[in-house]
């Protein structure tokens, strides 16, 4: 059996290497992904850029100038402040009116104008609102009307304060999935070609069995995808303190897309059908990877998608150095998906080649 499987693998490698489209697209993809990764900033800017204008602005700058995480700029005119916010230089601009102090001295309510960019989210607006209230108290020279309670902070999970992950590090799963899906298309195309040309029938009237054919495709598909994605991860320095966890996640991901390739290859009849099927599979595969870049934006249902576990395992292992204990649930979820998708792919492809 090993001789036959190896013979089929060697033949498949020869065929794949001659498929110029997939050869180019794979190499090009690798280069583009690596360049894209390194082109993105590798630091996280956690400073809150705030502008102030009006009475008390200089006082605020003096008192809060040394505060960590807050960069307070004083503007001479309201127009300049508004323009800076519009140009995206500031998170928000606070404009104190000239009659601010006399008004609050009489006990009346003064109005402070706060400029925020149009795309500011509600949670940021709420945070800015709280900050403005504090600034107003500072300008007025009074303290908050209540005594602030003591805080006892309990951190659940690894404490990542001061250890923020740049966006590009969260991009890794998306790049990995792009590459894996390209390999899926390549293998699916090869399988569909074997079915369409009925070369598989010629193979199956030799001592080769359907299981040999399936084993060869599985081994080659998984190995190629794994090597390529591992090279990509090495090129974008994903192997940090948990290389074995990351390699396991990549291996499972490679196996998962191989199962998908068996499925797509048995269903699609030509390149266009393979392309359409692949796109149909790529989209749900990409959603968890996209969500990993913006954790707050993800809906709970993405957890049921096949790539969720793999994505989480890659992010946690590569960006946060997560160990086996933390990654285990995600790896097990991915393994379950692998088994399910692979079993379905094998069933479909076996049925297809045996009824040709």
């Amino acid at each position: 059996m090993i001789r036959i499987v190896w013979a089929i693998i060697r033949k498949d490698i020869a065929q794949m290497s001659r498929d110029r489209f997939f050869a180019y697209i794979t190499i090009l993809g690798l280069v583009v992904y690596v360049v894209l990764f390194w082109a993105l900033p590798s630091t996280v800017d956690e400073t809150l850029d705030l502008g102030v204008h009006g009475v008390g602005a200089n006082l605020l700058a003096e008192q809060l100038g040394g505060e960590e995480g807050l960069d307070l700029a004083v503007f001479d005119t309201s127009d300049a402040l508004e323009r800076a916010v519009t140009d995206g230089e500031l998170v928000a601009g606070v404009d104190f009116p000239d009659d601010f102090l006399p008004t609050i001295a009489t006990g009346a309510q003064a109005t402070v104008t706060v400029y925020v960019p149009a795309d500011t989210t509600d949670d940021i607006r709420t945070a800015i609102s709280g900050l403005v209230r504090e600034l107003a108290y500072l300008v007025a020279g009074t303290t908050l009307p209540i005594t602030a309670p003591a805080e006892d902070e309990v951190v659940l999970g690894p404490d990542r304060a001061g250890d923020q992950v740049p966006l590009k590090d969260k991009l890794r799963p998306l790049l990995a999935i792009f590459l894996l899906m390209m390999e899926m298309m390549s293998l699916a195309s090869l399988i569909a070609q074997e079915i369409r040309s009925k070369t598989v029938t010629a193979v199956l009237v030799t001592p080769a069995r359907t299981t040999d054919f399936l084993a060869a495709k599985t081994i080659l598909g998984t190995a190629l995808a794994f090597v390529e994605v591992a090279v990509l991860m090495a090129a974008i320095r994903a192997f940090g303190s948990s290389p074995t966890v990351l390699l396991t996640a990549l291996l499972l991901g490679s196996f998962l897309v191989t199962g998908m390739a068996l499925l797509a290859g048995s269903t699609g009849r030509d390149f266009i059908e393979i392309l359409l099927l692949s796109v149909a599979l790529i989209v749900p595969m990409m959603i968890p990877a996209g969500a990993a870049m913006f954790p707050g934006s993800a809906a709970p249902w993405i957890k049921v998608l096949p790539a969720y576990g793999m994505t989480q395992a890659i992010v946690r292992a590569s960006a946060y150095g997560a160990g086996w204990a933390e990654a285990a649930p995600y790896l097990l979820t991915t393994l379950a998906w692998c088994v399910g998708v692979f079993a379905l792919g094998v069933f479909m492809l076996k049925r297809k080649v045996e009824t040709l």
């Binding site: 065929q15 040309s197 009925k198 030799t206």
Partner: protein, 287 residues
């Protein structure tokens, strides 16, 4: 040990209740070529699928080289060569690479690709990609592929269908050589003339049933109408007379026809396999 390399005994197969092959039986001896003749949809391909182990007969048995098919499929296939009607070659690989790949599947380590390609007149095209080959060249390469493992049994499905005379002749030559070597050959075709030339015996199949199996000669003698066609000149006109030999008084009629006029040509005429098939099936192969 049976002298027959292929023994098919009452096999049947139905797709969704429709019988494609119905109680089919025949044998092919070692060194014999059996022409398996029938129109499209007659059950030839389903029979071939069962013989290659790709379908399991729903009734009946198949014994090839004294081993039951499909339960001993691997062992049988190691000694079998199959050429399909479809040119199922790896077109982005060279002719040599195609042969080497299949040799690896058969476990043949000392393959003489040059010699094999030479047998099908492709010796100088070994390093060319199959995509560049004509239909005839592809078919010849298919035949070369069949010979990789020096098979004891050859199943050839329409091996010369639609080919140019040169390619057809090259393939016929190989088939005759393989039969002389001792291989049992099942030749599926709807080309009656080819079957007549290559087959020791022919089996007619129609609507899933084998109608008759015999040598072409016996079939023609038993079921065909022999006749003599005489062309003569009479009063400046050419007269053609056809006299069936199997009718009473044929000898006398021939003598009279020859004596009465100025004889131009005289030919004997025997039935073709097509005539015999029509006799049994009530229709021609292309009907």
């Amino acid at each position: 040990m049976s002298s027959a390399a292929i023994v098919v005994d009452g096999i049947s197969y139905a797709y969704d209740g429709r019988r494609a092959v119905d109680e089919v039986g025949f044998t092919v001896e070692r060194g014999e070529t059996l022409g398996f003749l029938g129109p499209n949809g007659a059950g030839k391909s389903t029979t071939i699928k069962m013989l290659t182990g790709r379908l399991r007969p729903q009734t009946g048995t198949i014994t090839i080289l004294d081993m039951p098919m499909p339960s001993q499929a691997s062992k049988i296939q190691a000694r079998m060569g199959v050429a399909f009607e479809e040119k199922n070659l790896y077109t982005n690989m060279t002719a040599n690479e195609n042969l080497v790949f299949f040799a690896r599947l058969f476990g043949v380590s000392d393959l003489d690709t040059g010699g094999l390609l030479d047998r099908v007149d492709l010796a100088d095209r070994g390093n060319d990609r199959v995509a560049e080959f004509s239909k005839g060249m592809k078919q010849r390469l298919m035949i070369a592929r069949v010979l990789i493992n020096m098979p004891d049994v050859l199943l050839l499905d329409e091996p010369t269908d639609g080919l140019d005379p040169v390619s057809s002749q090259s393939i016929r030559q190989v088939i005759q050589e393989e039969a002389e070597r001792g291989a049992a050959i099942l030749l599926t075709t709807h080309d009656m003339a080819e079957a007549d030339k290559l087959s020791n015996r022919v089996a007619f199949i129609n609507e899933g049933r084998v109608l008759v199996t015999d040598t072409p000669e016996n079939l023609k003698l038993t079921y065909g109408n022999r006749s003599v066609r005489i062309r003569a000149r009479s009063d400046g006109q050419i007269v053609e007379t056809v006299i069936p030999l199997d009718e009473p008084g044929a000898d006398e009629r021939i003598r009279q026809a020859v004596a009465a006029h100025e004889l131009l040509t005289i030919h004997t005429q025997e039935a073709t396999l097509e005539d015999i098939f029509i006799h049994f099936a009530g229709r021609g192969l292309d009907a």
